[in-house]
Every structure is written in structure tokens, then in C-alpha cells.
Assembly symmetry: C2
Homo-oligomer: 359 residues x 2
């Protein structure tokens, strides 16, 4: 696989901003979406990075997503609020919601904010980290289109439904977990299929629901935990649905019109999210938290590793990628490069960037 186009982060940011403004997004919506895409692109989660601009362009122009939304925050109690996204780009609604959660937490110790009438918000970690950067523990989740089988099922039922947690680490970058509740994302399955490479064990099932490592037979993703223990991953996918959709009264995973691949890019998908912030000052206190975190991270990174391996804390790998990409630039796949007016490297198949392998 050859190297995709490498773009300096600042240039990429400007190009994404211009593209979304041209597609009709207001400054606030475009800014939020670019911020979330750049979060993902910088840390190597290319599936949720710059490449999504092509999709957002399509849904803004199609009318599914409103470029100039009237986002409303309704406080419902001392520690809770509901954000009406008015069919905005989900990033815009989600950043407003996390900012609100942080405010509520500052006042009430914890803040929980639901989002209704929203759309795809990209990487959940983009919002969890905002809480951590404000000195709090953050949690962000959303449900999404069905692509993952339930435990012992044979057809897709849940989305890859991410759970993202972040916490201040006392270092330059927060502790950060942003995980799909499936073992791999759908585009990784598609990549294995297009490359004809064997699938890892326990990540996909065939038409009959049987686990398979044969890429041509893989139909549906398995939840985290693989063949024997994916009742746990499936239930965690349910947690995302519970908080994001059932609690908010928004669309269930299996009931979404397709995000991509359908004909309809004009009907809003009415997606829900859930954002949470917790203030350590209302528990052990920020100093106790900082000391505990330092002790924990030091012990974790010093844990004896397998031969040739290294024990990392959640986020360590991502922040290394960020530092490297700051130097080398962000790899952009050919389709996205063409969309953004960047030089295209014809040797790289669309979407198959190294980042998609890693994400």
C-alpha cells in the first residue's frame, strides 16, 4: 500500500472549514465539525477524521442536516439538560451539550446532557476530552446504524455504538478511551474483504451467524468479546442505545434510515447522544485525583510487558500519533484529497489509508 497525500494540520483544517461553509454550514456548525474531524485525524482515527467531510457535504446539500440550526439548551434540573440539535451537524450539538454538562458539573458536581434531533457526531472521544481539558471526567456516547449482531444473533442489530471516557492525567494530554463496542469497525471488515486478508478470530459472522475468519463470508460484525464473550460487548452496545436513544426518545439503532448507501439524504435521522461531566472537586478533590492518576499511570506504564511489547495507558498511542502527524502531516485518502482539491496519489485505493487499518 503506498503513502496517501500528507497534509499539514493547519492547511487541512482550513480546507475542511471552507468545504463545509461552501456546503451551507454556518460558522459555528462548520467550526464544530472541523474541530471533531481534526481531533480524529490528528490522533490517527482516520475513519472518523477528514474523510467524513465528503459525507457531511452530501447531507448538508441534501437537506438531511441543517446548515444554520437553531440549537436550544433546555435545563431540566440542577444537574441535567436536554439539547435540541435542530437537525444540526451532530458535532455542533454535541459540543454545546458537553459545554453545558461541564457548566452543570461545576455547579452541581455532575452534569448529564441528552441530545435530541441530532446527526452523526464523528468520534465520541472528541467530546469526552473537552471535559478532561476542563479538569473533569468526561463520558460521551451515541448510538448509530445497525452493523453489529447481537450475541447469538445472525443479523445486524446494534451500531458500533462508541463509549468514550476521558480524564485529566496531569500531563499534556488526557487519559482517553474511545472504543467501539464491536471488536472492529465496519470499514475494517470491508477493508479485509477488499484485500482478501483473513479476518482476526471472533470479529465477524457469516450469513448463518457462524463465526468466520474468511473475509468473503463475513457479513456482520461481532460485538467485543468474540465468539464466547460477546454477550458483554453486545450489552455495552445496549448501554449506548439506552443512554443515547431510549433515554432521549430518539431513533433506535435498527430503525435508522441508512447513514450512507441509501437514496435518502434529505430526511433527518433524529439521532440522540449523551454527554456527562464529573467534577473531582465534589469527590476526593482535584489534588487527590491528580495524585491518584499519577500513581496509577506510573504503575501501569511500568507494568512488566510481554516480550517485545509495551504497556500503554489509554490514549498514549493516539497522542504519539498526534505528535508524529504534527511533524509529518495528516494522511488523506485519494477521494477526500480530490474532494478537497489536493493532489491525488492514484496508487492508493479509496478509503484504504493506513489510518483506516489502525482505527
Amino acid at each position: 500500500m503506498s503513502v496517501p497525500t500528507l497534509v499539514a494540520p493547519d492547511l487541512l483544517e482550513a480546507l475542511l472549514e471552507n468545504a463545509l461553509r461552501a456546503a451551507g454550514a454556518c460558522a459555528a456548525s462548520a467550526g464544530a465539525a472541523v474541530r471533531a474531524m481534526m481531533h480524529a485525524s490528528r490522533i490517527g482515527v482516520d475513519s472518523h477524521g477528514a474523510r467524513l467531510v465528503v459525507h457531511y457535504d452530501k447531507v448538508l446539500r441534501g437537506g438531511r442536516v441543517k446548515g444554520t440550526p437553531d440549537i436550544a439548551v433546555r435545563r431540566t434540573a440542577a444537574a441535567t439538560a436536554v439539547v435540541d440539535g435542530d437537525d444540526a451537524l451532530g458535532h455542533h450539538a454535541a459540543y454545546v451539550a458537553m459545554d453545558t454538562a461541564i457548566e452543570l458539573a461545576r455547579e452541581s458536581g455532575i452534569g448529564a446532557v441528552g441530545v435530541v434531533r441530532s446527526s452523526h457526531f464523528g468520534a465520541a472521544g472528541a467530546y469526552a476530552r473537552v471535559a478532561a481539558e476542563a479538569g473533569m471526567i468526561g463520558f460521551a456516547t451515541t448510538n448509530s446504524d445497525k452493523v453489529v449482531a447481537p450475541f447469538q444473533g445472525r443479523e445486524a442489530f446494534h451500531g458500533t455504538n462508541p463509549l468514550a471516557f476521558a480524564a485529566p492525567s496531569g500531563e499534556a494530554r488526557p487519559w482517553l478511551l474511545d472504543m467501539a463496542t464491536s471488536s472492529i469497525p465496519l470499514n475494517r471488515l470491508l477493508l479485509f474483504k477488499s484485500l482478501g486478508v483473513s479476518l482476526p478470530q471472533g470479529v465477524a459472522v457469516d450469513e448463518a451467524g457462524r463465526p468466520t475468519t474468511e473475509p468473503s463470508e463475513g457479513r456482520t460484525l461481532l460485538p467485543l468479546g468474540g465468539v464466547d464473550f460477546s454477550f458483554k460487548g453486545a450489552a455495552l452496545a445496549g448501554v449506548a442505545t439506552l443512554f443515547s436513544a431510549i433515554l432521549q426518545g430518539t431513533t433506535l439503532d435498527h430503525a435508522f434510515i441508512p447513514m450512507v448507501g441509501g437514496d435518502d439524504y434529505s430526511t433527518p435521522r433524529r439521532m440522540g447522544h449523551f454527554l456527562l461531566a464529573i467534577d473531582p472537586d465534589r469527590f476526593g478533590g482535584r489534588d487527590v485525583f491528580a495524585a491518584g492518576m499519577a500513581a496509577y499511570l506510573t504503575a501501569l506504564r511500568a507494568a512488566p510487558a510481554q516480550e517485545g511489547a509495551e504497556v500503554l495507558a489509554p490514549g498514549d498511542r493516539e497522542w504519539r500519533v498526534e505528535a508524529e502527524r504534527e511533524r509529518t502531516g495528516i494522511p488523506i485518502d485519494p477521494d477526500t484529497a480530490a474532494f478537497l482539491g489536493l493532489p491525488r496519489d492514484p496508487a492508493v485505493p479509496a478509503g484504504n489509508t493506513e489510518g483506516n487499518l489502525v482505527a
Copy 2:
């Protein structure tokens, strides 16, 4: 394996209560511990059920745990509180904390309660379900003794650190997820070893940190996700540590004096927990929640299954066991039966009840 002693739930409850009172627990502490043990024993999680009475007897008599604690609730903000467990049986402190979280949530939309100076609290699901039974979403977690390797590590670092979620289902029993963040619990590994039966793939590593299915070589548990994806399970174990220990300023997993197997049963272990309740009325509202939950559960249980299998919602299997055990009685292993003064079936090896296999 022959059948262990079967005991009627009411009788078992009375025997456990008597045992803990005899060991010095006050009525409130004994009642809380029995309630949590009976939760686990009724639903088939025997690792966290009645058998723990032998251990609690030991720590009450040894002085590690205080039989007559002065548990104090300190409200720290509109939606948060910290419970000082005064080295009580963890169940007592955790039920007080979840009751407090529910009160806070009723008032402020969400309630988050940390617990400090606590001890082993049994099954996390025992507390999450209290919130669900009060019409709320519940979350409960704790950290615990190191028995699980970090991703790419070769020695134990995290506990099996459970995450438990519950939600009102509109049915007789709540939606309930109570999962260790490892694939299997430690006593299942020990059981495979004692039986000489091959381990499932990706649940344990040998001395060098290499994945093994050879029971005699399995030293340490792998996090949920197995060989390739246990960075997710390891990070989820870290979430339990973050909420329960780092946020509260209590003991980190790797720093606990051993729960069992050490010499010291007199020093408090200063364990932390975290309990959360969320009131649907401050989001979409209870009717919207009930409708969403019914639609979700109906669709999930109707999802096409693999041949010969069945798609269940989290908790469905456990509530079936509960119904069955209500009829047949609760199986009690020989050591626990002897401790409780029950007839002992010498054909059953200690601790190896069917429940331990299933848990």
C-alpha cells in the same frame, strides 16, 4: 459433577443473616450483605452469592471490617455526595450510597455518589438494580484486587473491575448488565485448572504474557476482548478504577492487601465504589423511556438467531435462573453448606458448583 446441596431461598437468607450477626455485624450491615448475596445467589452468580459468607465471617472476626459502622453521608453539591463507609461491609455502604444517588437524582436529575473506606461489596448489579426498581437508570462500579493483566502485559495489574448497568424494562425485572471487565473471573480460571480442562481462547496468559489455552500454564487473566482487542477490556477496567478509586482517593487495584490468601485479616482495605442514578423524567420522560425500552427489547428478542440459539436481552438469562431457583432451591457448595450447618454432599468438590461455571 454431582448436585450440590439445594436450599430454599428463605431458609438460606435466614441462615446467612444469623451467621453475619453471630460474626458481629449489626442488623443493618448484615441485612445489606445478605440482600446483596441473595441477589447474586438467586440469579445464578454463585461466585458472588452465599459462599462469600465464609469470607465475611472471617473479616468481621479479624477486624478488617467493622460490624457496627458509623456510615456517614456527606452531600458535596446538588447532585453529588460521598459516603464514608467507616470500614463497613461494602454492601451496607453501597446500598446507602445508591439510595442517596436515587434521592439526588429525584431532585437534580442525576445523582453520583462516591464511597470511601469501604470493603468488598459483592455483585455490582445488586446496587444498579435498586435504581432500576426506583424507575431510574443505575450504574455501579468498584475496583478490586489485581488479577487481570494490562494489554500486552504479563502480570496482574487490574481487578476484574465490574461495570453494572440497570434500567427499568416495563417488565417484572429490569434490564441488567453486570459484567467483569475480564472475559472470565479468577475462580473460573482456577476451576479450569483444577479440572484440567482447556481454557477458551484469549482468556488467560502464561508467565511470559503469552496467550494460552493450557490450564496448567494460565497465570493471569486477559481483559475482555482477548488477544487482539483486550486493549478495550483493559481500558474499561481502568474506567472502574478511575471512578471508584482515583476519583475517591481510595486504594488502587495493584496496591490492595490481598482480599484472600494473605495473613492480614485485620487491616481495612480502604476500597472505593461509585454509584450513579439517572431520572428519565429529566430527559425524554418516563413514558417515552418505557415506550423506547419496550420497542428495543421486543426487537432485540425477535432478532434472527444462530441455529439452535436464542437472542436474549441482558438479564433475561439471570431472571430465568431466579425463577427456576425459586422453585428448585439455591445450590450451595459443600464448604459453605458446612459453614451454615447444612447437610454436606461429599461428592462435590469445594467451590465447584455449577454456578461457579456459569457466573
